[in-house]
């Protein structure tokens, strides 16, 4: 356990405007610049389900120390339109600044009017503002221009030059006016840091695991996982296919996996619902499969571009009949990478479906991430274990429940003597050890036992909860998945107020290993379960699995991510 300090000092920058005003471009460049400069960031993207108009924000919280979660009070509000001022003015921190266009004629304490027209074209007000903010933060201009070049390089020289000029113009205007109003301390970290969001990291984790097939049907907030993989498909020599629907996507993935290619699907709640029949199939034919479910608020279409953690119970019980599974729920961008990799390993080891449960907040949240040590990682191998002695029975009944996979048609490089008898047979019906359909009810029972006994292997590999803070605490904050950062920082704040607080985060939410959880919960005087849903799904699972009843819950389900401030407000209430 480690002792937590109070919340790290950070500057919270919100870029607000209409869809289509380019705020993502500005946000991306700002983020990448800060990360490259060695700062720690947590990005929160909040957008509507439309392509133009409406109101979106891109929030970059930046600090020189490591920061983990989002923050509510706004230090710098970059308003690309007047609505933004209107919507967010009341969220300003005491020292907050609102960047507005001089032309709007706004006045007030925090208002900081910039003469965009004077400084350059209106068209570039986003980039101009970026220059202004860069100077406010006390950073060097070159840092931004580098990122801008990388970002806009491919759009041609003219565009780049215009943008660079705007950037410079904003920078010098601000520098000439006053000193840095929100100066960042020098960053604590030096080495190379990558700018990755949760979905990027899932894609990289899959590639590191040796994924060769990803099929998908577009669905926010999962789409970018497959699209990122597609961008790298040529270089990696993998196949990413947009399917006609989610049912096709998952059945394709099972076909690929059966044929020997580590495979993945990525979707969100409604699309996942359509996949549940095949989840059960994966359980029955014992075929490895990684299923990423990126959650958004339900039921049904719900709020397609917002965040929630309300599909835990659904994923846990998805598919008819009974079969083992595992569910990861990464709490950071690094964990997105690692748990996705582990998901492939586990799927291959247990011959069945393994889930990665993420959500819109984490999917879109850029962070500064140390490069992963790829040398230490080796990809999953589907056919390495085949040998002369490999039994012919694909579903041989073993002590562990785990048999030997056979891969259809795989030739000499895997199996020297691939005999005509050693065929890969998969059947969704109950089957015998060879994989052929059977109606023998004695075999049925043995096959159920075999499949379920694989749970032991999963249990043995389950990631224990991450517990931090005071032992025998007055208060234990329990969380899972993407809310880790918010909870961790809330705990730090509580500690700084003198409370003895512990935190527990589950990055693997199934199975629950009571031994690794119960002691910690019992040690705390009080436990609060914190979740982004309305019914406290994890609390229910904990009670079912351990008998420990958590009656106090902090639940958020308005579509916005949990923040430390939200947690603290609620704790004050409970």
């Amino acid at each position: 356990m480690r002792d937590g300090p109070s919340r790290p000092k950070a500057v919270n920058i919100v870029i607000g405007g209409e869809a289509g005003q380019g705020l993502i471009t500005v946000g991306d460049i700002l983020t990448r610049t800060l990360v490259r400069a060695g700062y720690s960031v947590v990005v929160t993207q909040s957008y509507q389900s439309r392509i133009r108009g409406g109101h979106n924000t891109f929030t970059v919280r930046v600090g020189s120390e490591e920061i983990l979660g989002p923050q509510e009070p706004i230090d710098i509000l970059m308003a690309l339109n007047m609505d933004t001022v209107h919507f967010h003015q009341h969220e300003l921190s005491p020292q907050g600044t609102v960047l507005v266009d001089e032309k709007w004629g706004l006045e007030g304490n925090a208002i900081f009017a910039v003469p965009y027209e004077e400084l350059g074209s209106q068209k570039f007000s986003g980039i101009l503002a970026l220059g202004v903010v860069g100077a406010m933060l006390g950073l060097e201009e070159e840092r931004f221009s580098g990122a801008l070049e990388q970002f806009l390089g491919k759009r041609g020289d003219q565009v780049l030059q215009e943008n660079l000029a705007s950037l410079k113009s904003g920078f010098s205007w601000m520098s000439s006016r006053s000193g840095p109003m929100h100066k960042l301390s020098p960053p604590r970290y030096a080495g190379t840091r990558l700018t990755l969001n949760g979905n990027d990291a899932i894609a990289l984790g899959a590639l590191a695991a040796g994924m060769k097939w990803c099929s998908f049907y577009p669905m926010t907030p999962a789409t970018s996982i497959a699209e990122t993989l597609a961008i790298h498909s040529q270089a990696m020599g993998i196949v990413v296919e947009q399917a006609e629907d989610e049912i096709a996507a998952i059945n394709m993935a099972l076909g690929a996996s059966f044929a020997g290619a580590p495979a993945m699907v990525a979707t969100s709640g409604g699309g996942f619902a359509l996949m549940t029949e095949a989840v059960s199939l994966a359980g029955m034919i014992e075929t490895p499969l990684v299923i990423v479910v990126a959650q958004r608020p339900g039921p049904s279409t719900g709020l397609p571009t917002r965040t929630e953690q309300s599909d835990l119970e659904f994923v846990l019980h998805s598919g008819h009949g009974e079969f083992p599974r595992a569910i990861f729920a990464p709490g950071s961008v690094e964990q997105c990478f690692h748990t996705t990799r582990q998901a492939f390993e586990l799927a291959e080891a247990l011959h069945g479906p393994v889930f990665v449960l993420t959500d819109q907040f984490l999917a879109d949240s850029y962070r500064s991430v140390e490069p992963f040590d790829l040398e230490q990682l080796s990809p999953v191998r589907t056919c390495q274990v085949l040998s002369e002695d490999t039994p012919h029975q694909v579903y041989a009944i073993t002590q562990s429940g785990i048999s030997h996979r056979l891969i259809p048609g795989l030739s000499a490089q895997c199996v020297a003597a691939y005999s005509a008898e050693r065929l890969a047979i998969a059947d969704s019906d109950e089957h015998d050890e060879y994989g052929h359909l059977t109606e023998d009810l004695t075999i049925r029972k043995r096959m159920v036992d075999k499949r379920l006994s694989k749970m032991n292997e999963i249990l043995a590999r389950t990631i224990p909860p991450e517990v931090a803070g005071d032992e025998a605490a007055d208060l234990m904050l329990l969380c899972w998945g993407s809310t880790r950062g918010a909870v961790w920082e809330a705990a730090d704040t509580l500690r700084s107020q003198g409370l003895r607080v512990a935190t527990m985060h589950l990055s693997q939410v199934w199975p629950i290993v009571p031994d690794t959880v119960l002691g910690h919960l019992q040690n705390a005087r009080e436990v609060i379960c914190i979740e982004s849903n309305a019914t406290g799904q994890m609390a229910k699972i904990i009670r079912r699995e351990t008998g420990f009843h958590i009656s106090k819950k902090i639940l958020r389900y308005d579509g916005l991510p949990l923040t430390p401030e939200f947690v603290l407000r609620q704790i004050a209430e409970v």
Binding site: L194, W213, H232, I238, V239, A259, L281, G409
Partner: protein, 283 residues
């Protein structure tokens, strides 16, 4: 040389007199004629009486979900182009539950051969109407007879310019075996619809009903002529054409995937060196 014995003989769960027995024979004959080893063949099926077929010969088998054989076959073929991938399933499975995948597979022109055992009824679930059931076909759910218009898969496939479209009849085993062979040889999507009597649940479209109506397309028939193929594929009633109705030379799905190399994707090494570059591009 592969012989028919290599494909084994198994007891089936089909009714005596069912057309499936003959289709099974034709499939085996075609595989032998193609000189394919059982280990080179992957049979994919859904659920239904027809979908049990892959269990009754020696081969790799993926007997998956009702209606979902095509997506499975598409991916398996793509990651291992060395496999001959054949789908066998019923009319209900392929045209009913699986209709959307049929449309997509035709559009992709994925290099699999789909043998549809078309008995114009749901056999395994005891006699419900299938998409190909004739108008007026009486079932429990349609005491006054079915009124949806019957689905003409070959017509749809020709209209969509599928790679290869053929119809056979379980009563003409050698002719059918020939069609299957040609279908497997075709580099692209091949539909082989097989008229198959169901002695238990289809008392209308019996062996003799089919036998009287089926005629083999003459040698003069040009499968490259789309307009004419439309007319042929539309024929149904007193005379039902069997044979290769239409074919073309569109590139197959996997041929469009530039990243697929000589070696089957499943056997390729993972490019960890490339991954490092990719990761660093996020700097």
């Amino acid at each position: 040389m592969v012989t028919i014995e290599d494909y084994g003989t198994y007891e089936t769960a089909w009714c005596p007199g069912c057309g499936n027995h003959s289709i099974l024979q034709a499939v085996k004959k075609a595989l032998v004629a193609l000189d394919l080893q059982p280990s080179q063949v992957l049979l994919v099926s859904g659920i239904g009486q027809a979908a049990k077929a892959p269990h009754y010969l020696k081969a790799n088998v993926f007997n998956g979900l009702h209606g979902r054989s095509l997506p499975v076959a598409t991916a398996a073929k793509t990651v291992n182009r060395d496999l001959a991938v054949i789908v066998e399933s019923g009319d209900g499975c392929t045209y009913g539950e699986g209709g959307n995948h049929l449309l997509a597979a035709i559009r992709r022109n994925v290099d699999v051969t789909v043998i549809v055992h078309n008995n114009q009824v749901y056999g395994l679930t005891k006699g419900q109407a299938s998409p190909t059931s004739g108008e007026g076909f009486v079932t429990k759910a349609y005491p006054h007879g079915v009124f949806s218009s019957p689905f003409k898969a070959p017509l749809l496939a020709v209209a969509m310019r599928a790679g290869f479209v053929a119809r056979g009849f379980s009563g003409r085993i050698d002719h059918l075996a020939q069609l299957i062979q040609e279908g497997v040889r075709q580099r692209g999507f091949s539909l082989v619809e097989v008229l198959q009597p169901c002695v238990s649940f289809n008392r209308v479209n019996t062996f003799s009903w089919y036998n009287q109506r089926c005629y083999e397309l003459p040698l003069t028939h040009d499968p490259g002529d789309w307009e004419n193929a439309i007319a042929i594929a539309d024929q149904w009633g007193d005379r039902i054409p069997i044979g290769v109705i239409y074919r073309n030379n569109r590139p197959a799905f996997d041929e469009n995937l530039v990243q697929l190399g000589e070696v089957a994707l499943v056997s390729q090494e993972v490019r960890m060196d490339q991954l490092k570059k990719i990761m660093m591009s996020y700097y």
